[in-house]
């Protein structure tokens, strides 16, 4: 595993942006959890608390026009592309101000204008769909790259293997990112997988480089992403990147994560990506006041989002019957 740290060769503005992004994802998701405790999030939700460095590192390395595909654990990736906290929290709360006016919910966050092409709740499918988006770029001679995020559990479904083979044979500009947080849902991934590293150890089967990185280090994530994007834009095909990380919360809001061995969470919290990155920036000479100001602005956005969502009504009933078909409605007969 690449253990390179303190990547001072990354521009200061970029490092500050990655801190802002990670801090924002953390604050937004903690607020989502608070709203759940207030019984204001009635549907399901899957948090990425502890995994923020991956979303922040990749999104920062992306260019406008690049596309993101993510799973039902997609709040962080959606926010990291610039979608507002209000739109995301509104969607979780089924409010009219939500990103999809409540029709998709937490597991399907999508913002095409930000390049977030969807959050997919059926394991594996979106790796195949991401191939298609990348194929379109190749077909049209465009330079955008598609990034597809998924969990460690995804590596044991057929679609993962089909998509990897497909992306390689068609040499598609797609980057597959496995967020290995050690648990597929409640079961440790190592208990159900033939190899130690569920994504990286499969790369050679598809003629791909084995890439395993510290997913809690935004600098490492960012630099790995840059390399993969350069390769994709140069027409050299896909990459498969396994990022080691850990989720601080359970699988979903219904999961208190009691299956964890004692002390495991505490150990991983020592490498909490948000806290360690802040400490690194300070050690690199960034003034605390600069970071404090970033945090203040983020908190203000999250506070304002909560107020706006609580004030927003549920969507009108009619909205539930729109956009089944392209004519805007749901008619299946004349």
């Amino acid at each position: 595993m690449s253990k390179k740290t303190a990547a001072i060769d990354i521009a200061e503005a970029t490092r500050l942006e990655m801190y802002r992004s990670q801090y924002r994802l953390r604050e937004a998701e903690q607020r989502a959890f608070d709203l759940f405790l207030q019984n204001l999030v009635k549907g399901t939700s899957h948090l990425s608390l502890g995994q923020e460095a991956i979303a922040a590192g990749f999104a920062t390395a992306m260019q406008p026009g690049d596309l993101t595909f993510c799973t039902y654990r997609g709040h962080a990736h959606t926010l990291a592309r610039g979608v507002s906290v209000e739109k995301v929290l509104g969607e979780l709360m089924s409010r009219d101000n939500g990103l999809m006016r409540g029709k998709g919910g937490s597991m399907h966050l999508t913002s095409v204008e930000h390049g977030v092409m969807g959050s997919y709740a059926i394991i594996g499918a979106h790796l195949c769909i991401a191939c298609g988006a990348a194929w379109r770029a190749q077909y049209q001679g465009k330079s955008d790259v598609t990034t597809c995020f998924f969990g460690d559990g995804t590596t044991n479904i057929g679609a993962f293997h089909e998509a990897l083979n497909f992306a390689v044979i068609w040499k598609l500009p797609v980057v597959f990112v496995c967020e290995n947080n050690l648990y597929m849902e409640y079961t440790p991934i190592k208990d159900v997988t033939a190899v130690a590293q569920p994504a990286a150890d499969r790369a050679s089967a598809y003629g791909l480089e084995r890439i395993l990185i510290d997913g809690n280090d935004a600098d490492v994530v960012y630099q790995t992403a840059q390399k993969a994007y350069a390769r994709a834009r140069a027409g050299e095909g896909p990459s498969l990147i396994e990022c080691l990380t850990y989720r601080h919360s359970g699988h979903s809001r219904a999961d208190p994560a009691k299956y964890r061995p004692k002390g495991e969470l505490e150990k991983w919290k020592e490498s909490d990506p948000v806290k360690t990155y802040r400490a690194r920036l300070l050690a690199q000479g960034i003034k605390a006041s600069v970071l404090d100001e970033i945090e203040r602005v983020v908190k203000a956005e999250v506070d304002a989002a909560e107020v706006a969502c609580k004030a927003s009504p549920l969507p009108p009933d009619e909205i539930m019957f729109t956009d089944v078909y392209a004519d805007g409605g749901c008619a299946w007969r004349n």
Binding site: M100, T110, G118, Y120, C128, G132, A133, A163, T322
Partner: protein
């Protein structure tokens, strides 16, 4: 006017649309150099080249997903899934991905693609000859088109490719060799329209695909042998469903028969009969009758012939019902 086979009509429609729109692409197993397992895409690879006509591995999930991702971002993919039964190995895309994305994203994501399936009986047995139109019909967000003749293949496939929604296009593999007259020039039909193929006053017979020529043959025999004058409607499209044409016909004839190749339970005719019971009960002069394949897996070869609705079975059922 040219005489084309049903399979040549498939290639003609795709060529017509590929010439018109550079975003139309074709992919599937053996679809390019081999011209398709059913030879329905012969000549397209030579005409449009390897960039637009692409062979895929045996990875139904991968190429269904690839088609979807391409459709979402600007292309108009046409996918050849080969045997309709293979839909079951990539059903996630039919049930969860193609039809739900527009809705879940409140209209942000569009999935304009066509999935071509070789549907129905052809003596290959229980895993290669199912009629899956009823699988598809139950999913909100899909369109389901089922042509019975070469001219309808051209017009309805062209319309499906131009349609902004995901369309499941069910070709019947026992019709591929059937010939029919097809006018020259561009042909584009309208989805969601049934067609009255034979007017009649005594009963309405609804049919799809291979059941259409059988219903027509049965109608001729019923007229000649018993003086029963049947109206035969090719339903052509299950989603959207042209209930207007069906109900209007029933209001004139008073008797309804559906001829369905799918196994009995939840066949498309059940939904039609339900609509009739709700909305046209007092137009009925007798019970609506569904003529279907029994609710069993299909055996192969000659045994299959005994189970799919035949001309004889249609004739006997209609005669028995109307003369009871």
């Amino acid at each position: 006017m040219a005489e084309l086979t049903y399979r040549d009509a498939v290639a003609r429609a795709i060529a017509q649309e590929m010439e018109r729109d550079p975003d139309v692409v074709l992919l599937g197993e053996d679809v390019a150099k081999a011209g398709g397992v059913f030879k329905a895409t012969v000549g397209l690879y030579e005409k449009f080249g390897p960039k637009r006509v692409r062979d895929t591995p045996i990875s139904e999930q991968a190429f269904m997903g690839a088609a979807m991702g391409a459709a979402m971002t600007g292309l108009k993919p046409v996918v050849d899934l080969m045997f309709a039964d293979f839909a079951a190995v990539c059903w996630d895309f039919f049930a969860n991905e193609f039809p739900k994305s527009r809705y879940m994203t409140n209209g942000q994501v569009k999935v304009p693609l066509v999935i071509r399936l070789a549907n129905g009986s052809a003596r290959f047995g229980a895993q290669h000859c199912q009629s899956v139109e009823n699988w598809c019909m139950m999913i909100p967000g899909l369109k389901v088109v089922v042509p019975s003749s070469p001219v309808d293949v051209v017009g309805l496939l062209a319309a499906s490719i131009r349609d902004p929604d995901p369309v499941i296009f069910l070709e019947h593999k026992s019709l591929y060799a059937v010939k029919g007259e097809v006018p020259d020039g561009e042909i584009v039909d309208t989805l969601g329209t049934a067609k009255i193929l034979r007017p009649g006053k005594d009963a309405t017979i609804l049919a799809l695909a291979l059941m259409v020529p059988r219903a027509l043959a049965a109608a001729e025999r019923l007229k000649a042998e018993s003086g029963i004058d049947c109206e035969v409607i090719d339903v052509r499209s299950l989603l959207p469903l042209d209930t207007r044409t069906i109900l209007e016909s029933l209001s004139r004839t008073g008797h309804l028969f559906t001829v369905e190749e799918n196994p009995r339970l939840c066949g498309w005719g059940a939904e039609v009969v339900s609509i009739v019971a709700d909305e046209a009960f007092y137009d009925l002069d007798g019970p609506p009758v569904r003529i279907t394949t029994p609710h069993i897996p299909l055996p192969p070869a000659e045994l299959e012939d005994l189970l799919i609705p035949s001309v004889d079975r249609i004739v006997e059922t209609v005669r028995r019902t109307l003369t009871a």
